[in-house]
C-alpha cells in the first residue's frame, strides 16, 4: 500500500513538475527574427520611397507594406481609443479601412523627407509581453535620429506594433490626434471616417 501511495506521489510530482516547466512561456519571438523583420520592412519602405513619383502615388503601395509588416487591425483599434467601443461592427470595419488609407498618406509624405537617409539597425531591447524593441539610427545630414521598432508576435506572426521616433510613440500620437479629430467634429464617427478617407 505504502509503495503504491509513494508511487502516486512520485508520479504526481513528475506531472506537476512537467506542467510547471511547460507553463513558463518560452520566448517565441527571438531577436534575430525581430531584427530581420525590421530590416526587411526598412528595405521595402526605402525602395518605395526612392522610386519615382510623388507621395500620393506611393500611398497605396505603402499601405500594402503596412498590411504585410504591421499589426494594422490592432493599430487601428488602438488609435480609435474609446470611440472604438462606440462603433458598430460596420463602422469599425470602415474606420479601420479609412485609418489605413490615412496612415499610408501621412507616412508616404513623411518618408519622402527621409529618402536620402541611411538606416542602421542596432540593438534589441526586451519589452516584456509587448515584444521586442529594435533600435535603429536614421542618419543623413546632421544629427542621427533614434527610431525604435516595437515588434510583437501576439497577432499570430511577427509584426510591427509601434514606431518610436526620439521617444515619441507614433501610436500614442495617432490616438491623441484621432481623439481630437473626433472631438472637433462633435464626436460624429461618420464625419471622422469621411475626414480620414479624404486625406
Amino acid at each position: 500500500m505504502r509503495i503504491l501511495r509513494r508511487s502516486f506521489v512520485l508520479l504526481g510530482a513528475v506531472v506537476l513538475g512537467t506542467a510547471m516547466v511547460g507553463a513558463s512561456p518560452a520566448r517565441a519571438l527571438d531577436e534575430g527574427a525581430a531584427r530581420s523583420h525590421v530590416e526587411a520592412t526598412v528595405n521595402e519602405v526605402l525602395t518605395l520611397v526612392r522610386s519615382g513619383g510623388g507621395p500620393a502615388a506611393k500611398a497605396p503601395q505603402l499601405r500594402q507594406i503596412m498590411e504585410m509588416r504591421a499589426a494594422l487591425p490592432q493599430i487601428a483599434r488602438f488609435s480609435a481609443g474609446r470611440a472604438w467601443t462606440e462603433m458598430n461592427a460596420d463602422q469599425q470595419r470602415r474606420f479601420s479601412d479609412a485609418f489605413a488609407n490615412y496612415l499610408a498618406s501621412v507616412y508616404a509624405r513623411r518618408f519622402e523627407e527621409y529618402s536620402g537617409q541611411q538606416v542602421t539597425v542596432g540593438r534589441v531591447v526586451d519589452a516584456g509581453n509587448k515584444g521586442l524593441l529594435v533600435q535603429s539610427s536614421v542618419s543623413g545630414s546632421g544629427q542621427p535620429v533614434v527610431v525604435e521598432w516595437l515588434v510583437s508576435d501576439r497577432g499570430g506572426s511577427v509584426q510591427i506594433a509601434d514606431i518610436v521616433i526620439e521617444g515619441v510613440s507614433m501610436l500614442l500620437s495617432q490616438r491623441e490626434e484621432i481623439a481630437n479629430m473626433l472631438a472637433s467634429r462633435g464626436n460624429d464617427i461618420e464625419q471622422l471616417i469621411q475626414a480620414l478617407n479624404a486625406t
Binding site: 490592432q74 481609443g81 524593441l133 510583437s152 501576439r154 521617444g167 501610436l171 490626434e177 481623439a179 479629430m181
Partner: protein
C-alpha cells in the same frame, strides 16, 4: 539680478501649485488649453511670417562649413549649464564628460567652433534644469505653450529661468552684451529651425491640428529625455483586450 531672482521664485512656486489631473487617456493635463491655443496660433503665424523664411535664407545662404562652426559654437555655450545640471542630478559620469568636452573643445576646438571632443567619446549630453527639478521630485505640472519658445510644462518653464543664468552670455554686463545676447538668441532660433526642418514642418504643417501634434510630440520627447531611454512601460499594448 533681483527681478530675475523674483521671477525664479515665482515660477518655482507656480511649478509647485499648478498640477491638475489629466483627462482620462490624455498624456498630460492641459487646463490652459484655450490660452495655449491662442499662443500656438501666434507662434505658428510667427513661424510662417518670419522664422521659417529667415531660416530658409540662413540655410540657403550660409555655407555648410559656417553652419557647422555656428552649430558647434552655440552648443559649446550650453556646456557650463549642462555641467551644472548633471552635477545637480548626481550624474558624475555625464558631468565629467561635459567638463572634459568643454575643456577639450575650448583649447583644441578653437574656442568651441570645432568639435574634436565627440571623436574622443565626450559627447554632448542634453539635459536642463527642468530635468534636474524632475530628479528632485518636482512634478511635471501642466502643459503650457509659450510665445516664441513653444511647448513647455510648468516645471520646464521654471527650469528655463534658471538655465538662462548658466549661459556665459548672461555673465557679461552692459549694453553691448545685451546686443550680443539678442544676436545669439536669434541665431539659435534660426539655426534650430533650419537644422530640424523636416520634424518641425511635420509637426506644424502636416497634421490637421498642429496644436495637438506639438503637444504630444513635445511631452513624449521630454519624458524620454528625463528617463534617458525609451520607457517600455509607457509604450502602448495594442494586443490588450
Amino acid at each position: 539680478m533681483l527681478p530675475r531672482v523674483t521671477a525664479l521664485l515665482l515660477v518655482a512656486a507656480l511649478a509647485g501649485c499648478a498640477t491638475a489631473p489629466a483627462e482620462e487617456g490624455a498624456l498630460i493635463a492641459d487646463p490652459y488649453e484655450n490660452a495655449n491655443r491662442k499662443v500656438h496660433a501666434f507662434n505658428k503665424g510667427l513661424d510662417r511670417g518670419i522664422i521659417n523664411p529667415a531660416s530658409k535664407v540662413y540655410g540657403a545662404v550660409t555655407p555648410t562649413t559656417f553652419k557647422f562652426l555656428i552649430g558647434n559654437a552655440l552648443s559649446h555655450l550650453m556646456l557650463p549649464g549642462l555641467f551644472a545640471n548633471h552635477l545637480l542630478q548626481g550624474d558624475a559620469t555625464e558631468a565629467a564628460e561635459t567638463l572634459g568636452r568643454f575643456a577639450l573643445n575650448t583649447v583644441y576646438g578653437a574656442g568651441g567652433f570645432l568639435d574634436p571632443a565627440t571623436e574622443f567619446g565626450l559627447k554632448y549630453r542634453q539635459t536642463d534644469f527642468g530635468i534636474t527639478l524632475g530628479e528632485w521630485g518636482v512634478a511635471e505640472g501642466v502643459y503650457l505653450e509659450l510665445p516664441v519658445i513653444g511647448p513647455s510644462t510648468t516645471r520646464h518653464v521654471a527650469g528655463r529661468v534658471v538655465d538662462i543664468a548658466f549661459q556665459p552670455a548672461s555673465w557679461l554686463g552692459g549694453g553691448s552684451a545685451e546686443a550680443l545676447n539678442y544676436g545669439i538668441r536669434t541665431l539659435e532660433i534660426v539655426d534650430f529651425r533650419d537644422r530640424y526642418r523636416p520634424v518641425i514642418d511635420d509637426v506644424l504643417y502636416a497634421s490637421e491640428d498642429s496644436y495637438v501634434t506639438a503637444r504630444t510630440t513635445y511631452i513624449q520627447n521630454r519624458r524620454r529625455l528625463a528617463a534617458g531611454e525609451t520607457v517600455v512601460e509607457e509604450l502602448p499594448d495594442i494586443f490588450e483586450q
